[in-house]
Symmetry: D3
Subunit: 315 residues, 6 copies
């Protein structure tokens, strides 16, 4: 595959395939319909306008379609915009695959699954182990394909599992440095804390919020499921309450969506590890797009700060 | 029964029965043990010290004991304090009853139950009706005896049911004034919103927070039970989600303990009716103790305001 | 009258009358003048551009003019925009009336007046009654035509009186449920609390803020008038101070514009009833425009929340 | 007169006159009544206990009484406390005067009055001049004796006039530096801004808040009087509105009690000059009591900061 | 020179010189390049578009270039926009000077320098005097040409020195009114407090933030330099610490960028004088552009307030 | 050595050595002097009163003195208080050592030094290495004995080095998990970030804040020293600025004392690692004192939360 769309400059010609992320119909001031397309590949996205779109165009060029585009990269309101010369749907003979145009975690699903299984296997507390194993079994497919968020961090295919595995790795090291930590509880909390997003989001590839997601939220959805699964497995006792607390408190504060603040050491740690991994993911990806000696774009969920890439770093 | 403890002045003699609310052992600066007692009847509370308490005293004068006390009302750090001359446990022959020394709702349990049953009976939506009826049946005894809070508002026996019934009365009128309101949903939300307190508090008469109450909280405890009860009753569909949302959002904001803000008209209304009834309960009781032309003590949960009782009110 | 502008879809032809809400002159990039019109009827509003406007056009098509328009509904920046084919002022022979294009309260002025008069008649406290009657008499015409706000809630003709009457209805029921409430004081507070808006707003139909409104505000304007009217009526004593306090504190907090927080039971209640009725008005109207199973637009004064209309509601 | 109470050390004997600022009756743990006295002179205050107080003592030693005390300065909870050996009311033959034991502004009333009169005389705008003159005439006696606050800054006899004159002095210089300032408006705002305190406080010497002060507040009380006085003087027009705005906005923000923020240059300036003079008054007095190289006590209204007195300052 | 750009109305023809403040290249929807120019003179700024810009145009019309423009003042999105008919670089024979198109302080550099020198000369504390003199000597040229801010207040050539001199004038008067003030310390703090901006900004005429400015900030940059200069001058002792504290605390609060709040009287005063002069500068300039009876535009750094210019002011 | 003071119960006799942490003179209500002593050993602290203290007692029993005490553990205001029967200074023949009564880090100084040296040795960037080495060399003795804070976390001898080494251990693992991290910069930031506390605190064993500490703070003190040391070592360039930024931003926000927020990846990480290690230190030590199934005392710097120790943990 060619260099990605993220690497094109104003003025460059474009002649390759892109995936339609969104397609919105409009009516121009001359009364003629047009399509506003958001096109993407694995490296990034670009806006495009298809002027004087026929009703056939509207039918064909929809979200999820892979298309061949020729055109030129212009600029509109300080953002790049692709001026389309021609556009057609991809065909089997083009030899391009939908899958290659979607951003994915940098680690393979199998490896992610292996690491999660290993963490469950290491647990000595049978209650935590049985509950966690049950969830991973039940949601395995979605767990390995859902993103960890709709935007901001780990917002790509397998992002959820990627986030979990990164957090497990941090947790492993923290457990060595602070030996009083209940590693089983921390591992269980990490694996389960965001699984409710599978119900909060509509699907893995182009996720939006479900009604249940908006009205209940992934935190409460998951806490309730832990109780139901524990009941099914006939597990009782404080482990269940404590595990629910881990999930309920992992956003850290009421203002951030947690009905209870962390009141257990491992819950406090879970919150910090979650935040740390999310922030490193955002930062690393923003800095990758930035030249040494320059500042990144403002990163909204990090208090809108723009970060500096020191000029003595050559990566 | 005599006039209550709330009506005694500094300098008055006391010679009647009181209930021990709390009893704490101390060691005085002369090395001798003493008991700090908090004594109460239906009208109020008073501090007392039992100096040079024997180990027999410590064994006998414990929380929940009804005692005969003689003494004099003095003052310590601007608060009344009962100087004990003599104290003994009450005896069957005294003809006084534990029950008469506990604050209770001003409405009888039977009447409260009747009004709740009536509200359920009025519902036309079978799902809301079945879920609500199931809860009321399951928790009937506790529902009729628990307070609505550990302190501040409706913090007396049957306070929870009293609060529910007051709210149902407001809701009934609001439904007439704003006919678009889904009255069934609003009624169901009111009846269920605080039932989780039965798990959050240790008991009805001298409630403290349970571990589950602290780690999970009554909001999440109840939302989860709604799902479980609905599953048991084989009720599915949006009514269950919406009812959970009513409970989850009734504190109004993340800072106030709700993981989701109200996103449904009836949820918004539930929050306001809850707040309104709690505030009227606090205000009415504080003003009852205040003379016209005077200010109440600071009411902490109402932003520490002291309220004025106009001098033209003769109540 | 035909179906209103709110019911037109992108692509529909339009051929009917509309009222010009605002008309702003612009100069296009080709150097020619044009008019940006905001056109409305009782159901809603739509933007329109009149390109190459002559100076005659500018003179004729001004705010408040009723016009006959033919055109087509297009779209600009995700909002509908009326593409004008022809436009002319309405004529007497058209048989359309200015009044039918303005949003009004759903209750007639006579009925609103009757209910306010009734509330004053019910008062037993002569001071509250005389002051309130004097104000209603003095401002009757404006009181019955002004909106309650420039935007957000009750922002239509007679909105102020509609808001007052809704609040009186709530107050009546609350007084039954909490019998300690001083109903006369509460009624007087409700009738007077927002009358200062008559000075704060420039007029009833297309209100903007007056200089006095911006520099003093309706709260202080009204509190001061209560004192002046009481002086004129030779009424002295605490009722006047308390009534001023009701007005001064009805926004609830300093941050929300009240120089004093509510320090009297009825002032606290006035604040809550005011907020409750404003919110129900906003919510009901937003939900009317929303299909079951959908969310409303973000409602800005309600913390920018979008509300859900449950799919089991068929209204 | 001897050195004041502020200069006594732990262990010193005391034998002189003091004024009773407050006297509160208590009942000791041995059942005997005692008096808690707060005694003061022009330099400061000290707590004292009069044990085993007779009912005659209670009658005699009341607030405002000047007394002869012998005793010793001890310490209680890290604060000095005067151990009373003997106490008696002062007698005419003692040759001491009540007035000499009250803290007063460091400038004489006559001089303060002169400076205020001069500022009014300088005004060229007849409306501002007439309104201001009318107020000064009407309230002259109280204006020259009231404090500017119950505590914190200028909380002494003539503190209000002292504060006004200090502010006028700053205003005079600021008007030279920023010649666009409307000096008449600024002077009028300064003279009137806090006059409402005469109604907000009960009296000049031992002020507490009046009911009117609590329910309306000095800001609204004064704004309303400006309108009434202007009406009486038959002054109309924008000057009155603007002058009211100066008063309403002088606390700067809603959170600080102003129903409107400053929206006029001179109102913004009035707020800053008011704050500046209040802070300098607090700071100067706190630093006077502090040795070079030491920190002051925490100053509560200045965000609880403790200020440092540099060791190179020899004042 | 002609009347400035700020005085042109929509529809006016323009035919004079302007300075290019910024020039940004764009590509139009027809694929052709254009330049977005921000043009200015001493009175204000105007946007302009140069359509179909050649690569020669791009090379010539850059930031800092003085150009001759003919065109017409149109309007785009409610803001004036200059429609360019012709444009060319200025030539020596045009007799116009770059310097005349840049906004400058209303006081000459020589006069500013004189006033600063005078303040240093007045100091009696040799340490403050030597440190201040050293800084003024070292940075003299930049001190007299830099603005005090990139935008908002004193954002013009010599703005920094103008701000310092205004503050010195206020300080001089304040020192007379509050004689305990250490005038030397206050003067030194005023002269040095913002000198770090010389390193924080890239240059005097079109300043942007340097990397050092963003990562360290002018406050820390200057505090550190005071230590280094004091070391060089072999000055030790508390004066240096106190002077650093003045600089570190002059923004008043952590939220506003100061690592320590003011803890010395003169530091508190410095903060207030700084704020006062900045606000008066913004206000005076905003009101100059506003007609009596009108409100200014919203002033962002003053909590977005729009200020009123009373109609009785004829300036 | 015997079991520590932390393990004594109310009613126990005490007969061993303790260190005087603070000694404050008071005068009792009977006029006699007494001493309030705070006594400690390695396990904890206890209050004690020495009644009727002679002037000899005052001279002898001062802060830092090791004393032999016999007495009984009583209770005062819900806190244990040691009732002293006899007290005398320790003597050489007692065979007890001052050092054994002071809380210290659980790791030896030599080991801490070794780990810090190792981290410096690992650095590849010569500038970071030289600056860090210079500081460690210059401050070695204090670095190994100072606490990391006056209270809350690592508030014991060698606490500063213990905190640094824990953070280095976390950093090492994080660098493996996120390979883009500049490990040298992160290590340098960790080693230097709190060194300014050596100037902020008066001494290692009983630290209080110095004047410099209060007026400048450890953050600015250290940032300035980095510049000075770099100048001395003739190191220039961005590494110095970036290292200063690490120190200035490590508290994360203006409200928390940092003049700049983290704007570099490693600065963000430094802030999180600092917070994480401080919180784990506080939590581990609070939970050590708590029985399974119980809550800790409120931990003030962790938002006053009380943490739960699950009953299934047997540590």
């Amino acid at each position: 595959m060619k260099k990605g769309i993220a690497h094109y400059q104003i003025g460059d010609s474009f002649d390759y395939f892109l995936l339609i992320k969104t397609a919105v119909k409009g009516v121009a001031s001359n009364g003629k319909p047009f399509l506003t397309l958001l096109l993407k590949d694995q490296t990034g996205e670009i806006d495009a306008k298809l002027w004087e779109a026929s009703s056939e165009d509207e039918r064909v060029f929809q979200q999820g379609e892979l298309v061949k585009v020729t055109g030129e990269v212009g600029q509109f309101r300080n953002k790049p915009q692709l001026k389309i010369h021609s556009i057609r749907p991809s065909q089997p003979t083009d030899g391009v695959f939908h899958n290659d145009f979607i951003e994915k975690a940098p680690v393979e699903k199998e490896e992610l699954m292996e690491r999660i299984t290993e963490a469950i296997f290491e647990m000595k507390n049978a209650n935590f182990q049985r509950i966690t194993r049950q969830f991973v079994k039940q949601y395995q497919e979605d767990l390995l394909s859902y993103p960890a968020a709709v935007r901001n961090h780990h917002e790509y295919v397998s992002g959820l599992a990627h986030h979990i595995v990164s957090m497990l790795n941090i947790a492993k090291e923290m457990s060595k440095l602070y030996p009083d930590i209940d590693k089983d509880l921390l591992y269980a909390g990490i694996i389960l804390h965001d699984l409710g997003k599978i119900k909060e989001f509509s699907n893995a590839v182009a996720p939006s919020y479900t009604t249940e997601g908006k009205l209940i939220g992934h935190i409460s959805l998951m806490a309730e499921e832990v109780r139901i699964v524990a009941n099914d497995l006939q597990i009782e006792g404080e482990e269940v309450t404590v595990l629910q607390h881990m999930i309920l408190s992992h956003h850290g504060k009421g203002e951030w969506g947690s009905p209870r603040p962390p009141l257990i050491r491992e819950a406090e740690l879970l919150h910090h590890i979650d935040m740390l991994d999310a922030r490193m993911n955002m930062l690393d990806r923003a800095l990758k797009k930035t030249a040494p000696g320059e500042f990144t774009e403002k990163i909204y969920p990090m208090e809108q700060r723009a970060f500096y890439k020191p000029s003595f770093e050559d990566k």
